[in-house]
Symmetry: C2
């Protein structure tokens, strides 16, 4: 082994290499370990994972399909830029999906669903208490995905997950630089949502989802206006 972080080789099963590369890169991109714009070199990755370029390429195609990387034909492929120009569109979409998934959950939740959601909410509360923004973002995502799953509509869950993953990068970008004020408020909002879902109170679930989404959107918006980064990161 050359060094801990760079070498991930070893006897894997036949189809597993692609998945490993895909999962690893995906995580690194979402966690902003690979900054937007970072060039991706196939040969380099091939060496890192002790694979040929073919499976690497396959993983990259999948990432490109998710719009996590951008391939400039015949030239480079880079980590996709975060699209600050369409931010309000994104927020609209996110808010809508917050609402829809929470409503559906209130309609269709089962006892096991509630249990799962509670467990994830506990994790979320722990992350907030520990003032760990990165964990908070991750557990918050899991919490809402669990709610979407409880709703039982795979199309909604799918669309929502996609949006959350895209948003993950935006969230990390801002939360990680402003980690003083971790919003404990979210914890109680989550508790209220669980109660509304468990009670099957669709209207209340909806209202809470709106409030929660507005909360998050407002917070990010205030970060953005307090920051000058979006103006610098404009795509060219």
């Amino acid at each position: 082994m050359k060094n801990g972080a760079e070498t991930e080789a070893g006897g894997r099963k036949r189809g597993s290499g692609v998945t490993l590369v895909y999962d690893t890169l995906r995580r690194e991109i979402i966690d902003l370990k690979l900054a937007p714009g970072t060039p991706i070199d196939e040969a380099q990755l091939a060496e890192r994972f002790s694979l040929s370029r073919t499976p690497i390429r396959e993983a990259l195609v999948r990432l490109a399909a998710e719009n996590l990387i951008t391939t400039l034909t015949n030239r480079a492929t880079i980590v996709s830029q975060i699209d600050f120009l369409n931010l309000s569109s994104f927020f609209d979409a996110l808010t809508l999906m917050y609402r829809v998934t929470t409503r559906e959950a209130a309609l269709n939740r089962s006892a096991e669903d509630i249990e799962k959601i509670r467990k994830l909410q506990a994790e979320f509360a722990r992350s907030v208490a520990a003032r760990a923004p990165l964990d908070m973002i991750a557990t918050n995502r899991e919490f809402h995905v669990a709610i979407a799953r409880a709703g039982g509509n795979k199309y909604f869950t799918d669309l929502f997950t996609r949006l959350l993953d895209e948003g993950q990068r935006i969230l990390r970008l801002y939360y990680s630089s402003f980690n003083d004020a971790l919003p404990r408020q979210y914890v109680t909002e989550h508790e209220d949502m669980i109660a509304a879902i468990e009670a099957g109170d669709v209207a209340r679930a909806d209202a809470l989802a709106v409030a929660h989404a507005d909360q998050i959107v407002g917070q990010i918006r205030s970060y953005i206006s307090a920051d000058r980064r979006p103006n610098l990161d404009l795509e060219l």
Copy 2:
């Protein structure tokens, strides 16, 4: 040339092969020329397009990412089954996106948008008049995508397009077997929608979208209950 339909070779540009294969297969799958469950043979496609298996494979990965084909590891890859079990989830999602995109269009439409929409509506009307169900389905799709584009939210447009493409297969499955009663009613509904969008009447646009979606969903539902196919096509 061996025969007209199977050979599509010739001097293409470097990166274009993958796109061609992807587009071609995508269309054939959506048009049900390749029935759900049809096995996909890489070598066979390689020969058909006069390419090596590598670019074919890349196209297949992209189709798999869109859930149009299903790859059974190490064994076959087949055209994805249509998911009749989650049909009502699908209809819920479709209805929601009909509403949202039509609303947004009423808010943000420009004069050019309206022009484009009208042009596509004219095509749609022609297809209905010509009693050409396949054209009707295609132009209907384009009509609604244009509305979504006019809304200006790329996330909504993207999600909606994805749903429409998935639905395309369901629509074709039923419309092509019941092509006696081509619903002329849709044409006037479309006209009303355009009027509401142009007038910026969000509430009316929303109501029309709901009615339109219910219309379509109801029609497909009645086809399904009049048919025994869904019970036969259960996945195993």
